[in-house]
């Protein structure tokens, strides 16, 4: 194994600044934490800039294969002290490994071009809770959604809590950020997609609705649902029927339920 160079003070300061949204946006980078996420990113050939590990991580016999993977990937590996790593880390108990990732540039043109005949696209309107966003992305990944579009007022994708709760889904399929949904809907319709808004009630019964081969499903804010402006642009409203006394479903549960129903039917 090669000697692993130390991160400089300036580098540590720079990486630490990525804990702030402002710097993440300026630098178009973000932080991945923990063995699992970094491993998933490597396996997905995700654009990592640097990997940082502390001594105890580097010394563990268990990590030899993983370190070999890093070496094979040609992504620079730097070492730092546990205290230095804690300054960059968002978690209380760090696993001793962090990666600095580039926020990937997405080409909308390419996306539409490469889309298969049958597709499901999810658009999220003003999702505000980081855990909800991460969980929704993980669910979209599970059900093989072809792409996700996040409205300008949705919580930042690169927020560490969002990244953690995606459990790697962030590496697996195209996620577009800061999307002006009205313009996106117009474009999607032009490409022959049907725009379906999920509403708590009053929509067509999801179990009975025939989802088109090219479906875009919009889910709305936790408290307020989908904005009126988008409701008016949609081709149809669909609801998951309730069977109990609950007034509403959590948005991530609604997304899971809807995708489970679509996958059976589409």
């Amino acid at each position: 194994m090669k000697t692993i160079p130390r991160a400089s003070k300036a580098q540590i300061k720079y990486f630490g600044s990525l804990a702030q949204k402002k710097f993440r946006q300026e630098e178009r980078k973000y932080i991945l934490e923990g063995t699992r996420l970094v491993e998933e990113a490597l396996q997905s050939s995700y654009p990592l800039e640097t990997i940082l590990a502390d001594q105890s991580f580097l010394d563990k016999a268990d990590h030899r294969d993983f370190l070999q993977q890093i070496e094979n990937s040609k992504i620079p590996l730097l070492q730092l002290s546990s205290g230095e790593l804690a300054k960059i880390s968002d978690t209380v108990t760090s696993q001793g490994i962090i990666a600095i990732a580039n926020q990937p540039e997405m080409s909308g043109k390419m996306f539409w071009k490469k889309l298969p005949e049958r597709s499901i696209i999810v658009a999220l309107d003003n999702i505000s809770d980081p855990g909800n966003l991460g969980t929704i992305l993980r669910t979209c990944d599970w059900f093989g959604v072809n792409g996700v579009f996040l409205s300008t007022d949705t919580v930042e994708l690169y927020n560490p809590k969002v990244v953690r709760s995606t459990m790697g889904a962030i590496f697996h399929f195209p996620i577009f950020t800061d999307v002006e949904l009205p313009a996106f809907i117009a474009e999607a319709k032009g490409q022959g997609h049907s725009v379906i808004v999920t509403t708590l009630e009053g929509g067509k019964n999801a179990y009975e609705f025939t989802f088109p081969q090219k479906s875009i499903i919009i889910f709305g804010n936790e408290a307020h649902g989908v904005k009126d402006e988008l409701l008016h642009l949609a081709d149809v409203r669909v609801s998951i029927p309730g069977f109990g006394k609950a007034e509403s479903l959590n948005v991530s549960s609604a997304c899971a339920s809807m995708l489970a129903i679509i996958r059976k039917k589409q």
Copy 2:
């Protein structure tokens, strides 16, 4: 409107102690926070002991109907200062209203007796995240699950974060706590129920499986799934097929997906 008596220092201290699990368990009481939860509890005739509100809550013209509801319910209403309320409250920005609820006593015998011909029961094995538990209960409520059984090692139902994230589901249907799941499974089988364990892979395809009229669905821990001991006791294992690259689904999303599929099929 009657004059509203002030909570005594001793009462405030007592209610404040319910922030701790130990005291909640000893006293068999817990805390509900916020207008919506307290309103839902009242509407569900849930066993509340006392309602506490601060001056600004009591003074709001908007709250007149709600205060009338409280008066009609005969549940004692006490006032306290915002500072005193903050000592009892778990949230950072309180809405100025809290209720002290009794943890309801559940009769297992009664539960089995009152169960309809077709039923879905959910059992949770070692769910550790409060938000997940609350979201699962809310989803179970939405899909009209007849009862939920929580294993002894599942996070406490009366944890304020769990209570909040149920969004009132906690008032709507029977939830049994501290359940020894192996004994429960034996009992349920004796009552003619089929025990279905959800697994990430290797089980029967949920879309193709015919769920029995009396189904008990077990969901397991976020990281480790359902314990081997319970896997062996189950009649069948069922999995939600994955279509993308995700290795797993969040347990609350798995629950939503599974219930959405069952509701279509049962």
